[in-house]
């Protein structure tokens, strides 16, 4: 302890004043002869213990007050070593990089505060202790986060306010980007000394790509460690897949649990939730620093479609990674009607043979019904998710009207042409739903190099033939095809039907073109439904497309597209911070995304171009959602043109934590950006002066209060007596 005015400590002699006054009072006491001394002494014995204790207490309190006053005037203080770096007190341009990655959401101890609270407090302390004329900026370390104070500011209060407003994200850390950003900000710094302070728990995750400060010649980097060794258990993976052994609606959910501790985790409890309800509970043993998988089997009672699965383990200090979610896709049993316009007795020559085979293949989950045009009951169309019309000559007026109503009410129709098609009848009866009027049949002329060797698996066909132009994968139908897919590119088209030119129209797009530029597959949105028009056959009469590898996925994706079902390649699970593209229906005007914490975000798609027939203009309408900041389930609703709002369960998606944030492994010393300076001993931490007179003043106040209470109590006791 030190004193600013030690000479005033002479006043400590006043501490004996109460005792001295007491002695003087004794000497001045008047003697009194009293006969009943025996009674008096008995009375004294009865009260002496209590009285002496009270007197001693009073004497102690008064002595304390008398001694404390000169101590206060002497201004005592002590020096404590600061937990801030030595550079903090110098004038400088500084950037505080605050680690707000998910791992800082863990609690310091059971019932304690998150580590982030400590980190933010440390950052506050740093900013408060920077030299007043220093300028400072604030950058967050989580991936893809904007800097709260993006330019050096001498207004420290503003930086402190920004710090108070920062909350810990669930994203992973990206120190390389944060340090780049900090260096960039410091180029505008007003002072020669430039320092980046990184307040972090020094978790190894997130430091990839960071080089030592000496290697880059950039600003000095000072690490302020707020972490402490911790252990963690986490669900790091979750997969859901159909489980045929459990029936058509059976699913298998496989959770992968990691144990990031030195002790094995035995009988670690796991809970499986489906659509929010607990459906199973299990246990798993996970070795130290190892992983284990737990497989749950369950039969969904709610029928086909997408379901939300979640697995949660018993909680530890870091609860954010104790659960993980996934979307479970169960076969919808999509019903498809194939109207065979050219039936044959030889099955392989039948118009619908390849079409039906493609839909049945690969467990696509389609329920297929085949019928001749005359057998189709117009009223039964609504039972199907999609209707394929294969080389139908001329639909009856009743069937045509039923098809128009079917499409306008949300149905999907696939039309393929052939020799039997009466273009005029189609154009007159189904003009309302045809993407383009049918034209003349065209036979391909010889093109390209006829001597060129056929591609592998290609059937040698000497007829002149067209091929498809390179695919434009922006249409959702083609999203699953590789950019240089031979599956479609190798197909040869000897004959096809031309389409009559029409003005560009919203909702209509050419999905596939021939090399000559003629449309091969045209899509249009009519009412709430969709129509696909293939300008060739689906048997081998005009083309060998049905025997090409691309035919099967093209047919299945077309069926799903027409029925409005999610694509087989739909990505329904994201990591925090990843972008999600949400498809819109033809009548959708806006999309609402509701996050796990109930926060709602409305997204409006870009307006359609008024003209132009480019594939981009008619590509699938979608909006991008990038506010995937919290792990959990995100619900999607669409606002339609007629004002109604519909839930879009097929567009739901889940967001999970980056597994890297679960790993408590600390950053090795040789990977620290400041390791060279740290190895040299670093800067000694400064000392700060801690004034003690405030505390002493509080003690005096308490002592005076106690003395008053004791005296008052004494007087009251006497009055009662």
């Amino acid at each position: 302890m030190h004193f600013l005015a030690p000479s005033l400590l002479l006043g400590l002699a006043a501490a004996v004043a109460p005792w001295f006054i007491h002695r003087i009072g004794k000497r001045r006491a008047r003697p009194r002869a009293f006969a009943a001394m025996e009674l008096l002494l008995r009375a004294e014995r009865e009260v002496s213990a209590r009285r002496r204790l009270r007197e001693l207490l009073l004497l102690a309190l008064r002595t304390l007050v008398a001694a404390a006053l000169p101590l206060i005037f002497a201004r005592p203080f002590t020096e404590v070593r600061s937990d801030l770096p030595a550079t903090a007190g110098r004038t400088q341009s500084a950037v505080v990089v605050l680690d707000d990655s998910a791992s800082l959401r863990r609690l310091e101890h059971a019932g304690g505060d998150p580590v982030f609270t400590k980190a933010r407090g440390r950052a506050r302390s740093l900013v408060e202790h920077l030299a007043p004329d220093s300028d400072v900026a604030l950058v967050l370390a989580s991936e893809g986060t904007a800097a709260p104070v993006a330019e050096p500011a001498s207004d420290h209060a503003r930086v402190l306010a920004a710090l108070d407003g920062v909350t810990c994200s669930a994203r992973r850390a990206d120190f390389a980007a944060a340090l780049r950003r900090a260096s960039q900000i410091l180029t505008a710094g007003a002072h020669g000394e430039r320092v980046v302070y990184v307040v972090t728990d020094l978790q190894a995750t997130g430091w990839d790509g960071v080089t030592s400060e000496g290697d880059t010649g950039g600003p000095a980097i000072v690490l302020l460690d707020v972490g402490s060794p911790w252990e963690n258990r986490a669900v790091v993976g979750l997969e859901a897949e159909p489980a045929p052994e459990q029936g058509a609606e059976g699913v298998a959910v496989v959770a992968e649990v990691a144990n990031f501790s030195d002790a094995p985790a035995t009988k670690l409890g796991l809970t499986l939730r489906l659509d929010g309800a607990d459906v199973a509970r299990g246990f798993v043993d996970v070795p130290a620093h190892g992983r284990a998988k737990k497989r749950f089997l369950h039969t969904l009672a709610g029928g086909g479609g997408a379901h939300d699965a979640e697995v949660e383990i018993d909680h530890d200090l870091f609860t954010l990674d104790d659960r993980r979610r996934a979307r479970v896709e169960v076969s919808r049993g999509l019903r498809v009607l194939i109207v065979d316009g050219d039936p044959r007795t030889v099955r392989t020559e039948d118009e619908a043979f390849f079409l039906e085979a493609a839909l049945r293949a690969g467990g696509g989950g389609f329920s297929i019904t085949s019928a001749l045009p005359d057998e189709v009951a117009p009223a039964s169309l609504t039972d199907y998710g999609a209707v394929f019309l294969a080389n139908v000559a001329r639909p009856s007026p009743e069937l045509a009207q039923a098809l128009v109503r079917y499409v306008e009410n949300g149905g999907g129709v696939f039309i393929s042409v052939g020799d039997r098609v009466d273009a005029d009848a189609w154009n007159s009866r189904l003009a309302a739903i045809l993407p383009q009027p049918l034209g003349l049949k065209r036979t391909a002329s010889a093109s390209g190099d006829p001597t060129a060797p056929p591609a592998e698996g290609e059937t040698v066909d000497t007829r002149p033939a067209e091929r498809l132009a390179p695919l434009d994968r922006r249409h959702p139908l083609l999203a699953s095809f590789p950019a240089k897919s031979d599956g479609l590119a190798s197909a040869r088209f000897s004959e096809f039907m031309l389409l009559a030119p029409v003005p560009d129209a919203p909702g209509r797009s050419v999905v596939l073109r021939f090399e000559s530029g003629a449309p091969a597959l045209v899509a249009s949105e009519v009412g709430r439904g969709r129509v696909l028009l293939l300008t060739t056959t689906v048997d081998r009469e005009w083309t060998d497309l049905p025997i090409r590898p691309g035919f099967l996925p093209l047919v299945q994706e077309s069926a799903r597209y027409l029925a409005g079902a999610p694509g087989s390649e739909s990505v329904a699970s994201l990591t925090v911070g990843q972008r999600r593209e949400i498809g819109l229906g033809g009548d959708d005007r806006r999309v609402e995304v509701v996050g796990p914490n109930g926060q709602s975000t409305w997204l409006t798609p870009e307006p359609r171009p008024s003209e132009g027939r480019s594939p981009e203009a008619h590509a699938r309408r979608a909006v991008a959602f990038d506010r995937t900041d919290e792990p959990g389930l995100y619900r999607v609703r669409a606002s339609r043109a007629d004002g109604t709002v519909e839930e879009r369960p097929e567009e739901r998606f889940v967001v999970d934590l980056d597994p890297g944030e679960s790993d408590p492994a600390p950053l090795p010393a040789d990977r620290r950006p400041d390791h060279a300076r740290a190895a040299a001993g670093g800067d000694a931490a400064p000392k700060s002066r801690l004034e003690l007179w405030h505390a002493l003043g509080a003690v005096v106040l308490v002592a005076v209060l106690l003395e008053s209470l004791l005296t008052l109590r004494l007087r009251r006791g006497r009055v009662k007596a």
Binding site: A33, F34, A36
Partner: protein, 322 residues
């Protein structure tokens, strides 16, 4: 003298003089007379016309007593054997025992107060005067640790004067041994007597207290009529806080008493009052057990009132026996 005359007149008219006023009277004889007249004024008796303190009583039967004197009515009433003692048979000798130890000299802070010894002298003088009026012999034994002065009970002329002069000349000194004084009286009283003890009981510690209680019991068993006047100054009932400093050093009054106590009297007031009450209750209980009449008085009480209560009680007891 004129003051004293007027006071006597008032006393006859029924006004009780307080001890301070009595002290202003010139002689002990006058004080005794005033006290007696004051006491009888309240009882509507004339002390000069035959009313007397008669000490007739029953005695519980003991082997050797004459069965002719058995009170069979009492036997039938209380189922215990009592022997009648006839008033005309009893030549009642009275021993007045006055504690003249140093503690009895204590006089309270009130300027109107008198010492306990003076107060005891007034009461003893009044009783002596009354007995002389009745022709009963009264003696005096003043004591501290030993018998300091003894006047045997007599009825001859001039004896009352000697007794009153002796009382007037008493001074407080020395420690006290009331048990020893009672033992001395026990030797002197060869037949049934009335023994009246005036003391403050302050210097009779527990052991001494037990001795005193035993002596009282013995005297009572021998047929003596014993009364204990327990006299205290008001200061010894409750501490006079108004007259005491915040810090007071109390010291004993007995010779060679080294006891001192430096204390704030307010700290002790309640406890002291409890101790004083406990002392009185203890002696009341002891006397009850020994069948000794216990009478407590503070020196601020008019002696006539104390005497009147004493006489009234005796008259009532006599009425009950008869």
């Amino acid at each position: 003298m004129s003051d004293a005359t007027s006071t006597v007149s008032e006393s006859r008219a029924g006004v009780l003089l307080d001890p301070h006023d009595l002290a202003r009277l010139a002689t002990m004889s006058l004080r005794a007379r005033v006290i007696v007249e004051g006491a009888f004024a309240g009882m509507h008796h004339n002390p000069h016309t035959g009313t007397s303190i008669e000490f007739a009583e029953h005695k519980e039967y003991a082997p050797g007593d004459d069965l002719r004197h058995m009170d069979w009515k009492a036997v039938a009433r209380v189922e215990r054997y009592y022997i009648k003692r006839f008033e005309d048979e009893t030549e009642m000798r009275t021993f007045l025992l006055v504690d003249a130890s140093a503690s009895m000299g204590y006089r309270g802070s009130n300027e109107k107060s008198v010492s306990k010894l003076a107060y005891a002298s007034y009461l003893a003088a009044a009783l002596g005067y009354l007995l002389a009026q009745q022709g009963d012999p009264a003696g005096l034994l003043a004591f501290d640790e030993r018998t300091r002065q003894y006047l045997p009970p007599r009825t001859r002329g001039g004896h009352l004067h000697e007794l009153l002069v002796a009382l007037d000349g008493l001074y407080a000194a020395g420690r006290t041994q009331p048990g020893r004084a009672l033992a001395h009286v026990g030797e002197l009283a060869d037949r049934r007597s009335v023994i009246v003890l005036f003391t403050d009981l302050l210097d009779a510690p527990d052991a001494g207290g037990d001795e005193l209680a035993n002596r009282l019991r013995q005297l009572r068993a021998r047929g003596h009529d014993v009364t204990l006047f327990h006299l205290l100054d008001p200061d010894e009932v409750e501490l006079p806080l108004d007259d005491l400093e915040d810090l007071t050093e109390f010291e004993g009054v007995e010779p060679d008493d080294g006891r001192r106590l430096l204390v704030d009297p307010r700290d002790l007031a309640a406890s002291f009052a409890r101790e004083s009450l406990a002392l009185r209750e203890r002696w009341r209980k002891r006397c009850l057990e020994a069948r000794v009449e216990y009478r407590f008085a503070t020196t601020s009480t008019p002696p006539s009132e104390v005497l009147r209560a004493f006489l009234f009680n005796r008259e009532r007891e006599r009425g009950r026996r008869s």
